[in-house]
Symmetry: none
């Protein structure tokens, strides 16, 4: 299922494209085709509604089997992004969250420099009708919005994937771009797992300290806190430092 033994079979690489609860196999197939059109191979699905594998996905993929055969399934969005150091959320709707908001072209440039510096990156795409939920967006470091006609701004899922894949491809067409961007990216961004470990550590201690109250406000408070730390683009070392900070602040509780 995880296709680990096949990942070496192809020269495909690039960021992970993560579809959260896609409804239609046809759209998954269209995404696979669009990704392969632009040399991308890492497609991940979170709880596909029509099950997996999907004959309809095969039908619309136009033989993009290199991508479909290596699809990874994940039970949660958090698990799907666990190994990634930087995550974009593709979203059309404005959010009441303070995050970097990039165009596809800006995001592609960023994705190129991230991968050039060894940071695994990915893009989250929401379900066809509703887009990404706030909890999914909260897992992302930045928001990616495709500029469009304001009175008809909802792109088909495969079309949204295509725009990002196309910009990714164009952003890599000159070697000098890649060289130039290498220097600007901080090395060693924290993995999603390290970040979540830090968040949970902080939230447990805040619960003990009675901060995340009342219960109905807790989800929003947690999301806002996670968002502000996401924005900082923390390195693994910084995450360890912050965990040391928490430990130091609560130290005398225990004695």
């Amino acid at each position: 299922m995880a296709g680990t033994d096949r990942s070496r079979n192809t020269a495909l690489g690039g960021p992970a494209f993560i579809l959260v609860e896609p409804q239609l196999g046809e759209n998954i197939g269209a995404c696979a085709r669009a990704m392969l059109n632009f040399g991308l191979g890492d497609l991940r699905l979170v709880r596909p509604r029509g099950g997996w594998p999907s004959d309809k996905a095969v039908a619309t993929s136009s033989r993009a089997t290199e991508v479909l055969d290596n699809v990874r399934l994940h039970p949660t969005t958090a698990e799907a992004v666990a190994d990634l150091g930087f995550v974009f959320a593709a979203t059309a709707r404005p959010r009441d969250m303070v995050k970097d908001d990039l165009s596809p072209r800006q995001a592609a440039s960023r994705l190129r420099s991230l991968t050039a510096s060894g940071t695994a990156a990915g893009i989250l795409f929401g379900r066809e009708a509703a887009g990404l939920g706030n909890d999914d967006v909260a897992l992302a470091d930045a928001v990616l919005a495709i500029p469009a006609n304001p009175s008809f701004s909802s792109l088909n899922l495969g079309q949204a994937v295509l725009v990002i894949a196309y910009e990714w491809f164009l952003a890599g067409t000159t070697a000098s771009d890649r060289e130039a961007s290498k220097a600007t990216e901080p090395l060693g961004l924290a993995t999603r797992e390290e970040l979540v470990g830090f968040f949970e550590h902080l939230e447990v201690e805040l619960d003990v300290g009675g901060f995340l109250k009342p219960p109905e406000k807790r989800p929003r408070m947690v999301r806002n806190l996670r968002n502000l730390f996401h924005r900082a683009g923390l390195t693994g070392q910084e995450v360890r430092t912050l965990r040391g900070v928490i430990a130091a602040l609560v130290r005398r509780r225990k004695v």
Copy 2:
């Protein structure tokens, strides 16, 4: 049928998108949706194989009725481009014809300047399996090729239309649009005073918790912590939240 009561039609414009012998109504609907996503309204069909109108086109258009209701049918490609002053042929395969060969981005820029100067322009797209025939390409002034993975370069028809429509839209994003988008930046960034107050609060509590040791390392540790919070671009509200977090974490020290 022509949507006479739709005043919004006047807002749609841009080059004509001409599909030559499209096979599948689904693809025509996807093209209409992609066009409307980027404010384009002039869709023309040359001998659609599945007939017209098409229920399948309606189903995949996602209510892009402004475009579908105004589709024009033509018996030949020559007739479909008769009123146009400049025509691109979208093609993946190389041709043994001497014509300008532009990328979508270059073509979009050209299309913008053509229409700005009052020249009606259009883009020809071929049938799904075979692309444009040489006789169709011969009607064009220039060739437009979408750069793609050389070993999997055939885009779905709706996807090819989307790339051109997207580039057209971006090419019209003027400096004033960019100025306007600046207004969406988060308001209420913390003042320097608020930030310093937060830093000092944190550092006092970390000294109490014995974290900022040994003394010779303190300046560097403080600098690193301040840097990571600086990077987040905190709002005033977020600074107040973080001070609440510190207070909650240290609460039990005092009791």
